[in-house]
Amino acid sequence: MSLKARQSKEKRFQFAGLAAISIGLLCLVMLFASVLSAGLPAFQQTFIKLTFNLPADKLDKSGNRNPQEMKKVSTIGYTKVITEQLKLNLTKAGLEFDQLSKKELKNMISKEAPAQVRYAVLEDPSLLDREFEMVLLANGRIDGYYKGRVTKKSAELDVMVSPKQLELADQMKRAGILETRFNGRFFYWPDASDLRPEAAGLGVALLGSFYMVLIVLVLAVPLAVCTAIFLEEFAPKNRFTDLIEINISNLAAVPSIVFGILGLSLFINFMDLPQSAPIVGGLCLTLMTLPTVIIAARASIKAVPPSIKAAALGLGASKVQAVFHHVLPSAAPGILTGTIIGLAQALGETAPLLLIGMVAFVREYPSLSPEGIFEPATALPVQLYNWTVRGDPAFVERASGAIIVLLVFMITMNLLAIVLRKRFERRW
């Protein structure tokens, strides 16, 4: 073969390598681009700002402003009142709404709004006696209109929204009653039912994920460090320790869904722990992340030069003292990095949580006391799975928004791990 042919072959080979890396990076860019473009609108929401003069005689029939008695008026009662108030506000702004049916007018505002107003009034009954302003969620379809998901054309075929409503929404926007702006509630409101995607938030999921990561941190890290120390420093070399080692490297490669099956039959069926509770999820994830953290901890213990230990032993320390006073502190940065990566893995894991019932629809926040870990909750990745499988495209947007939140957490944790490694890494 001529030299020229060989050299061009060399060029081609090198180019293939570069192309492979470019494809990999391109995939990454595509992934981020698709998530960001689909998810960023979730942080925006369309709101309707109304001035309320609530009819006290309808909402508090006995007239003594006692919240207990006022509870008798249900959200249905409030729905009527809110529609009336909307009409008043529209008239004041000089907007025409005669062409809209009563139902269309009512549906301009989210079905979540009556509950919101009712809650505010029960909290503070004096609202009935004065004029006040309140910002309510607009209907999900109207919100979708301002995000390009719904058009006047698509609205003609949609039973949930009509072009007339969108026309009115445009007028309201010009009058300053309606606006699309940042939606902080996405982070702390609980999930909402299928019909009101505009009210769905990540509150319960974030809290549940926080509990689970906390459980993993508290259980997996000490156990993993103890195991790693034992296997690296104290274990006698025999069949049994070989078995443990093979076992751990195998567990690290067991599919995560198998841990879900284990959790279902061990923690829920056998130990009778409650379904959907962070404690069960946390335990599953602990068992799942344990091998990862053990392997990382072992690697960093192994990386500590034997001379450190030998010096301690030479000065009369026992093996335990040498390990705990010298080897472990030197290995701590590596263990910390492994821990953070393990926690990130636990935070993003979905499959095992599906099996232990965390897909349930949960609207109540688990309590902040330690008992909270036994109360139903969801987790961030499961919540976004849950939204994905619902029909309404508004939920898909929210799922993509949840992915952004999840990725922000993941990237922060991974960056933290990299920074810590750089900062504390010691070359011996």
């Binding site: 390598g17 990999g24 195998n250 599919p255 099956i261 993941m410």
Partner: protein, 484 residues
């Protein structure tokens, strides 16, 4: 129980301080001690704490044993089934807890208060108080259980206190120059470390037991031959006329879907991952490497649910609009190709970082020899490095395959739900993992083969991935030893 633990902790802490103080006093008198003061402290602590803890747990379970056997023997003839016995047991336990709560509202001193109130007034007042609220079933059994419980409590308390004090006294007396307390304390520490390393083994045992036992249940309801060799997957959750036998639960279509998608994923990720690894380790400048490698590894840190959504929302529709529909092959956006490609993206960093390690492990001397003979860099890679690294690379591919087979979220969202034996990559196909999720989410009854089949699927998945992992780890390990 709890008040005993509190009491023991107090005695243990007391022993800790007294032993430590005594050791330090000895040291002040210029006695040379083998163990340090803190070791002596812990020696005292553990000497008290461990025996009393063991004793407490032991008596607690002996008490439960007596209560249970009492329940079983007193009404032995009346129980129609085991379930009935369990129900009675649960009722009795609930009543006992109710009564104990009535006696003592202070959790932390409960044992003391329960015993003292029993000595003073018996249990009748509490019984009456509870009874006024609700009716107590199996009154005689409840009384028996209560008495046994109180006896166990008394025994634990008396024995516990005696042993705690004795042990404290003994360990204080042992404080001396020559006794090596350090060794004893460290033995306990090492034992704890060893115990924690058993968790990993127990996890595996737990996985195997839970999968096996439910699979056996499944095998009793449904033919296992049907499961292993059946070519139709069609579970009927609305069990109609013939219960349980209406469903076809053959694993083969699922296995085919799993393998097909994994194959697509590997066909995409192995060349790209391998070429990236070769480029990064042989050609790239240090600067390029230090940026490209972590960025590529970012792909490995992304949760699989994100990939699943990527397959569902972006790749699937893209393939549909650019291939499937224009070519008239259907209108599915869920397809083997979409799920496989996205899974391939997920596996790129996995393959590339494993291959990178393996290529770097090939000794420099081999490269130098090849260059010395006049080979170009690419010829060296193709003719020397790859053959030398081949076993390791095969190991890496097997590990990637095991990942692909066990991957769940991408196939749940991207590959569709129809189980079929088909060659068309533009159709959707279900996998083992996707069906496990299907059968086990929502309201599940543990009595039907349609639910239990998930465990059989899980066992199959576990066995397949285990074999792949063991083989891969064996090859990788063997390979590493060769060059060390």
């Amino acid at each position: 129980m709890n008040s005993l633990i509190v009491f023991n902790l107090i005695v243990s802490v007391f022993a800790f301080f007294v032993c430590r103080a005594k050791a330090s006093r000895l040291r002040e008198k210029h006695t040379l001690l083998v163990a340090s003061n803190t070791h002596w402290g812990w020696y005292g602590f553990l000497n008290v704490f461990i025996p009393t803890l063991v004793l407490g747990v032991l008596i607690h379970y002996v008490g439960i044993y007596f209560i249970n056997s009492g329940i079983r023997s007193s009404t032995a003839l009346e129980f129609a089934s085991h379930a009935e016995y369990l129900l009675v047991k649960e009722n009795v336990n609930a009543s006992v807890i109710l009564i104990l709560d009535e006696i003592s509202q202070i959790r932390f001193l409960s044992s003391f208060i329960v015993i003292i109130s029993y000595l003073i007034s018996g249990i009748e007042p509490a019984l009456l108080a509870v009874q006024s609220g609700t009716t107590i079933e199996h009154l005689d059994l409840v009384v028996l259980a209560l008495k046994t419980k109180i006896m166990a409590l008394t025994a634990t308390l008396v024995l516990g206190v005696v042993i705690a004090l004795m042990q404290a006294q003994r360990s204080i007396n042992t404080v001396s120059a020559n006794y090596n307390a350090r060794e004893k304390v460290e033995f306990v520490i090492i034992s704890l470390l060893g115990l924690s390393s058993l968790i990993a083994v127990l996890t595996t045992v737990g996985i195997v037991i839970s999968l096996l036992s439910e699979t056996i249940n499944f095998a009793m309801m449904h033919s296992i031959v049907d499961f292993l060799f059946g070519t139709v997957w069609n579970p009927q959750f609305t069990s109609g006329e013939v219960e349980g036998y209406g469903s076809d639960l053959g694993i083969l279509p699922l296995l085919w879907g799993t393998l097909y998608i994994s194959f697509v994923a590997l066909a995409f990720s192995v060349p790209i991952g391998l070429y990236s690894a070769i480029y990064l380790s042989e050609y790239a400048s240090d600067r390029f490497r230090s940026i490209a490698k972590p960025v590529l590894e970012l792909l490995a840190g992304i949760p699989t649910i994100v990939y699943g959504l990527f397959a569902l929302l972006t790749v699937g529709p893209l393939l549909r609009d650019s291939f499937t529909q224009p070519l008239g092959l259907g209108s599915n956006s869920d397809s083997v190709l979409a799920a496989g490609l996205v899974m391939g993206i997920m596996l790129i960093p996995f393959v590339s970082s494993l291959s990178d390690d393996i290529i770097n492990a090939v000794p420099q001397t081999l490269r130098d020899g090849s260059y010395g003979l006049g080979a170009t860099q690419s010829e060296t890679v193709k003719n020397v490095i790859i053959p030398a690294a081949l076993p390791g690379i095969i190991g890496a591919v097997l590990l990637a395959a095991s990942r692909a087979i066990g991957e769940t979220m991408i196939v749940v969202l991207g590959a569709g739900a129809a189980a079929k034996l088909s060659l068309n990559p533009l159709e959707g196909m279900a996998t083992i993992t996707a069906k496990i999720v299907n059968q086990l989410t929502g309201d599940t009854e543990f009595e039907s083969p349609e639910t239990l089949v998930a465990f059989a699927l899980g066992l199959s998945l576990f066995v397949i991935t285990l074999c792949l992992n063991v083989l891969a780890l064996y090859i990788v390990r063997k390979y590493r030893e060769e060059y060390e």
